[in-house]
């Protein structure tokens, strides 16, 4: 059989295997990074014991969770309880199939790519609702109900934000959307900043992350829908949550942040930015080598050095296409390698914003969350779509230049947003009437 004929079939399978195999590890390390970022913001060190700087912590955690007793509550619906986490994880992983990590690394370039991702990722809610219901516990049930309501509300605005990007790109194919941004050189975040903002907020809510972590809400519902879960079943939910984070970050990167594109990808003057990725990796490697002698145990020294070496290897891989002559075979791999780097870099930055918000803000109350969703985000996202349509129409039908039509429409959207915010203020406290007394006015403390 001709090798070239079967490559299109083998390659996606390989990619899929790589993703499925690596994803739990990646999720584990996102957890570690989250703990480290949290520690940094909270004047602490975070995990430091397992491996140098806690680098092996995710593996230790995974082993611990695997070895834990598998408890299914007696009054639980066993089959559903057993299957629910699987639904969550599967749905989260499936969504990754259509996302292009670099121009070559993609499992399937579906022509309905975005529709597929939106459809699949909303299936994940079944895992949460079923798991919460099957646990037969009040906390779980309330977590599950909150989750269902929250997801439905925020999927609406996230979907509308996505529609904005679709209008701009004119295609549902994820690769096509990035290609469009790459051709014009304008990332959609600059053309539709409000759309990006809506998607950012909605995606935090969709992944059940603070400040919208109602379904889990540690201080209220103990652990929400996963209260009764323990051991590896619990870990599966965790895996699903972090995979979902990767998915929404990837969607945002693809739709708004130019996917695998380098910043200023079309400008020759900024070509020096190509050297940024290898330089970054070299710096990380340098840090690792510098810290190596300071590790307390021999094993940790070796591990630290190994991490440093790994960074050097990555750096070499990144620098290779730049170092070889422009027309050689190796040089053609540059978009693939560097594209993957930039894509992952943007995804990481997006996830960092998630963490940053989580550690800064208190949690919304459930009704406030719904109000924010329906009274602010949904109308705003509809206005956003209309305005993008208007800008496109002004440009295409009436021949207005882009630099007038788009800023005009962005300003109009912002005005609409301000208006929504101002009118929404009035409905702040739903219980004021019931509990009594006028407490609408400002409350100075008289010192």
């Amino acid at each position: 059989m001709n090798l070239n004929a079967i490559i299109p079939y083998i390659l996606p399978v390989l990619f899929a295997l790589v993703i499925v195999a690596l994803l739990p590890l990646v999720a584990g390390y996102i957890v570690l990074v989250e703990r480290k970022v949290m520690a940094d913001m909270q004047v602490r060190l975070g995990p430091m014991r397992v491996g140098p700087h806690g680098l092996l912590q995710p593996i230790a955690d995974a082993v611990k969770l695997l070895l834990k007793e598998d408890i299914i509550p007696e009054s639980a619906d066993k089959l559903v309880f057993w299957g629910a986490p699987l639904i969550s994880v599967t749905a989260a992983m499936l969504a990754l199939a259509a996302l292009p990590i670099g121009p070559f690394f993609q499992i399937a370039d579906l022509n309905i790519g975005l529709l597929y991702i939106l459809g699949i990722s909303s299936l994940g809610i079944f895992g949460i609702v079923l798991g919460g219901w099957a646990s037969n516990s009040h906390y779980s049930l309330m977590g599950a109900l909150r989750s269902a309501a929250q997801l439905v509300s925020y999927e609406t605005s996230a979907g509308m934000a996505v529609v904005g990007a679709l209008l701009l790109a004119g295609t549902l194919s994820t690769r096509g959307i990035v290609q469009e941004q790459s051709d014009t050189g304008w990332w959609f975040i600059f053309v539709a900043p409000v759309g990006f903002f809506i998607y950012l907020v909605a995606s935090i809510a969709e992944t059940n992350r603070a400040p919208f972590d109602m379904p889990e809400a540690e201080s209220e519902l103990v652990a929400g829908y996963m209260t009764e879960y323990s051991g590896f079943r619990w870990a599966l939910y965790f895996l699903a949550e972090y995979t979902n984070m990767v998915v929404v970050a990837s969607i945002a990167t693809t739709l708004f942040l130019g996917g695998w594109m380098r910043p200023f990808g079309n400008t020759r003057a900024f070509n020096f930015l190509d050297y940024l990725p290898p330089l970054l990796m070299f710096l990380v490697a340098g840090y690792c080598f510098r810290r190596t002698p300071k590790q307390p145990v021999q094993v940790q020294k070796m591990f630290m050095a190994a991490v440093g070496l790994l960074c050097i290897v990555v750096a070499l891989v990144l620098i290779m296409p730049l170092a070889v002559p422009r027309d050689s075979y190796l040089a053609t791999s540059k978009p693939g390698i560097h594209g993957a780097f930039w894509f992952l870099f943007k995804v990481a930055a997006y996830i960092y914003v998630f963490m940053w918000l989580r550690f800064t803000f208190p949690r919304y109350r459930f009704d406030q969350l719904m109000r924010l969703g329906w009274q602010f985000l949904v109308p705003l996202s509809i206005v956003n779509v209309m305005m993008i349509g208007l800008a496109l129409a002004l440009h295409r039908q009436f021949g207005w230049p882009n630099w007038i039509s788009f800023p005009l429409c962005i300003v109009l959207t912002l005005v609409a947003g301000g208006f929504l915010l101002a009118t929404g203020e009035k409905h702040e406290h739903p219980f004021v009437g019931e509990v009594g007394e006028g407490q609408e006015e400002e409350t100075p403390v008289h010192a």
Binding site: Q42, V43, A217, E220, V222, P362, R363, R365, E428
Partner: protein
């Protein structure tokens, strides 16, 4: 409370939509009930229609123990009531016994007592702020608060060797002379502390989410607060200017200038603001205190064996959580005949049911946090 709600799912009523009310058992093992409080909530969806507090999981019989200990021996036990503010507990007990015996602590002891107690108030409020913010979902302030609390605990450690349950004072004065750098340490802490409070405020006070979660939540009117005997910052946030440090000065409070912050609406936000301002005021008292610590003895004229004359006495102080009162009956022996403690946490907790009605489950957590209860003190 039993007539309003008898738990266990017996009196489940059907609500308007034909759905059953559910009964949610919050605690005693729950992340935000501050220890081992158990609250039975009757919920209509997520809305609270009734509640019942179940306490006693941490009951150790502190008052009973007192009847079998000499006056000095009992002093360390009171540290274990409100273990977040052990110094204040000790001050209250020592002053009560002194009042019973009609001795007075010398001026030097009183000033040092005041300084340490005010530091303890700051530490207690810091701990409250951190956990309260954590209950509402803000993770980070807790660690900033603990950082400053650590500095206070270090001062305690330098002074008496203990950090948490300090047993810092003795009946009649102090056991330990202040260490040499006490003034310097307190001054260094106070100098930096002002900015730190601003830092917490910058994270919370004008945060939209924080305001949304606290304003108008758990309103307690001044009349209701007084009727229920609520004291401390909870009472002051309802607009009642009542602070025992001013009303019935003890220790050295009559020498210092400070103001009593009060709120207006009696909601969770006001209680937050009141406590923030109280931390600033406590800092002010500490700074005034270290300016001039009088020289002289640290222990008044008390013997090795304490035998107060028969009689009874009630004395209360303004602990960080409210009015902490001790009522001691002496029969003339070395052991108290009866000790009754008025714990501010317990009495403030009684307002919980009234405050959470009509609110959501999320608010219950916020309101428990804003009451600033310590279960060691509630249960004793």
């Amino acid at each position: 409370m039993a007539d309003r709600y008898s738990g266990g799912g017996v009196n489940v009523e059907t609500t308007v939509l034909g759905a059953d009310e559910i009964i949610l058992n919050m605690g005693p093992q729950h992340p935000s009930t501050h220890g081992v409080l158990r609250v039975k909530l009757r919920l209509d969806g997520e809305k609270v229609v009734g509640s019942e507090c179940v306490i006693g999981y941490l009951h150790r019989g502190v008052e009973k123990i007192a009847e079998h200990r000499s006056y000095q021996q009992f002093a360390p036990y009171v540290d274990r009531m409100d273990y977040v503010a052990a110094v204040s507990n000790g001050l209250g007990y020592c002053e009560t016994v002194e009042k019973l015996m009609q001795v007075e602590a010398p001026p030097r002891a009183r000033v040092i007592r005041t300084i340490l107690t005010e530091l303890q108030r700051i530490a207690s409020h810091l701990f409250w702020l951190g956990t309260h913010a954590l209950d509402i979902g803000a993770l980070t302030p807790l660690f900033y608060c603990l950082r400053e609390r650590e500095e206070i605990l270090k001062i305690f450690e330098k002074y008496c060797g203990a950090r948490l349950t300090t047993h810092a004072f003795r009946i009649g004065g102090l056991q330990y002379e202040a260490y040499d750098e006490l003034e310097k340490d307190v001054e260094r802490f106070c100098k930096g502390f002002d900015k730190r409070v601003d830092e917490y405020e910058s994270l919370l006070t004008e945060n939209r989410i924080w305001v949304g979660r606290t304003k108008g939540i758990g309103i307690l009117t001044a009349e209701a607060a007084i009727a229920m005997g609520v004291t401390g910052p909870v009472l002051r946030a309802s607009g009642v200017q009542w602070d025992i440090r001013k009303a019935m000065p003890y220790a050295a409070y009559d020498q210092y200038e400070f103001s009593i912050p009060t709120g207006k609406n009696g909601d969770t936000y006001d209680r937050y603001l009141v406590r923030m301002e109280e931390m600033r005021q406590s800092r002010k008292i500490c700074l005034q205190g270290i300016e001039n610590i009088p020289a002289g003895p640290i222990l008044g004229k008390v013997g090795k064996v304490l035998k107060p004359p028969p009689g009874e006495v009630y004395h209360s102080i303004e602990a960080p959580k409210g009015e902490l009162g001790y009522y001691i009956v002496s029969d003339g022996t070395t052991q108290p005949y009866r000790v009754r403690i008025r714990p501010p946490s317990l009495i403030n907790l009684e307002a919980l049911d009234q405050m959470i009605r009509g609110h959501l489950v999320a608010d219950v957590v916020a309101i428990i946090g804003t009451l600033d209860i310590v279960l060691g003190e509630v249960d004793r």
